[in-house]
Assembly symmetry: C2
Homo-oligomer: 341 residues x 2
DNA sequence: TCAATTTTCCAAAGCGCTTTGGAAAATACT
DNA sequence: AGTATTTTCCAAAGCGCTTTGGAAAATTGA
């Protein structure tokens, strides 16, 4: 069933039927309803490729799927993708994924030049702005998940990573903690750098000199969480609080504490940032983990909405989100132990 | 740059240029080369939507992305998707994912009716054949990852789940084990049922009556692995071997053994099926875990190839793959402990 | 009542490609 | 030499939609 036959069944022109289905007001409400009903009865669905050709829009959002052979698939990315895809479906956009083994930008370029996608989502940005600049040069609409230095020139969504470590550090200081160690993400990542500064500044604001021995960075795995915690917990001046960049890392830290017979929530306070990814449920830990929380799935959903707005012409300046993570206090944090016990 | 202007630049007709680019032999090799070069120089890329409209083919493969709010994203699915997307890119197919919160088949129906996708991948099939029958009724091309009872009527790829438990059980019996427990997946899943039968038959073939106490089934999480193992290891007649449905479960079982002071690889033998998903590396376990192995990513790659063949008209009968998992022997398995020690 | 508006519809063009059904040119066959 | 065949190219139609630029009909205003 195509427009033409539907139109002839209705005794109307293609034009009218098309406009009716697209809700134009220059066709009377009566016929609009009549057309809608007929379309439903005949099970008519407009051919998307014809529409795409006619309008020049595809209503497809592209995203690179990082599938390097031996790299394990980041659950963070998947969680984000889940939110994106969910919301996009609701908004009548489709998501096209493309494996980016080779050059990611090349994938995007082809996508855009061929008219496959209207817009591209950029994920996992690093300090280098190469990809961003290329997309800007190619004039391909895009939205970034994360930020770089020139983020005022494009549309993005990010969380305030400075706060992610600044707020908990400040809270810990108020509780009386002074020896606060951080188990951070990979030092090349923008978010890790921001978090580091958040921690550093919070300490400095209190007149405390940040102790470089209390800083560890690396891939946010449970193994690293364990070994980093082991290291800092066996320093001469053992920290009284541990700030982790992810719940997974905190899990490793919990294990280290258990191995060293240090009681979390009394002997030591542990906090983490919680992206709400599977297999890392902060509330089910023992004791429940205090976190700054910002579900990645929500970010995915929001970026779908932003994409839609972008394509509808909303100004870039209005499509720059910086989310403030919420600090959720649980049993893993307490005042530091009194020295005289 | 479109066909028309490219053609006029070359002083050729659109027809010729189009056919040249598509490698038809009714345009001379000389002009074919000339056209190819010009296309490259001008950076010409055919508009996919126009092509799709003209040919009726989209070269897009659709797959439902199960993103239920509170269901955690199965890493198995992701791993499969990674393989699929990787191979599809190489074969010049695109992958469209659609969130399937509501009715998955409905998503497919719309996809197919609108001409968005040429073919659909069905994953996570269960005993009910509802979805398969619907796709067959709607005449939507599809390939199934997994199998159901009527699998001779469609194209699929699956592993021999009967072997997954039959082969290791047989091997254990030959080593002298008789008390073999299984930590299986959810009992509704087709693969879990097949595996159960594999175990059961292998025992019966040796004249051993399968002990129902030695059977546990449930979601293949580390937690379940731990608790299932705890249960069977504390039975009056403790099993000498544990057969797990996934490496993740085996991890839990290892932990249970450690808690009960049972030495894996000497006091007890443990095996598992290994889909090669991230965060579950059998070789890095201590002792290294014996597995039947069949990487899900490979299955994803293969299904992309099958999809291409299907769309090129290959007969369904030639697109039914049943992969035999390989049994990889490692230190977690040994002969059963002698009773007199 | 007739002209000016507004409402409602439509014919036709166009999106950029593929494909059909030849035609012209080149080559091969008597 | 003239005819048959093959090679190489092309004009035009068509894929199924949207959109433009009216035209006809209905409504309003005087």
């Amino acid at each position: 069933m195509n427009l033409k036959t539907l139109a002839s069944h209705l005794g109307l022109s293609q034009t009218t039927v098309s406009r009716a289905l697209n809700g134009y007001t220059d066709v009377s409400l009566a016929t609009r309803n009549r057309v809608a009903e007929a379309a439903k009865n005949f099970g008519y669905r407009p051919n998307v490729n014809a529409r795409r050709l006619a309008t020049g829009r595809s209503s497809v959002i592209g995203i690179a799927f990082p599938t390097d052979m031996n790299m394990f698939l980041d659950p963070h990315f998947i969680e984000f993708l889940a939110g994106l895809s969910e919301k996009a479906s609701q908004l009548d956009y489709d998501i096209m994924i493309s494996s980016s083994q080779n050059d990611e930008v090349d994938v995007y370029r082809r996508f855009a030049e061929k008219g496959t996608v209207d817009l591209v989502i950029l994920s996992n940005v690093d300090l280098s702005e190469e990809r961003i600049r290329l997309l800007q040069d190619l004039n391909i609409p895009f939205i970034v998940h994360g930020r770089t230095a020139t983020c005022d020139t494009y549309s993005y969504i990010d969380i305030n990573n400075y706060s992610v470590f600044h707020d908990p550090t400040k809270m810990l200081l108020e509780l009386g903690h002074e020896k606060i160690a951080i188990l951070n993400g990979h030092p090349d990542r923008v978010y890790a750098i921001e978090r580091f500064h958040g921690w550093q500044d919070a300490l400095n604001e209190r007149g405390i000199t940040p102790n470089p021995d209390y800083v560890r960075s690396g891939v946010m795995s449970e193994e690293n969480g364990y070994s980093f915690a082991m290291e800092v917990l066996q320093l001469g001046e053992r920290p009284t609080a541990l700030l982790c960049s992810s719940v997974i890392m905190a899990k490793g830290a919990y294990k280290a504490c258990s191995d060293l017979d240090i009681k979390v929530g009394s002997d030591i306070s542990i906090l983490a940032h919680d992206d709400s990814v599977p297999l890392a449920n902060a509330t089910e830990m023992d004791p429940p983990l205090t976190v700054t929380r910002s579900p990645l799935r929500d970010a995915g959903r929001e970026i779908a909405i932003m994409a839609m707005k972008y394509l509808k012409g909303t100004d870039i300046k209005e499509l720059q989100c910086l989310w403030q993570p919420e600090l959720i206090f649980r049993k893993s944090v307490a005042a530091p132990p009194r020295d005289d016990i």
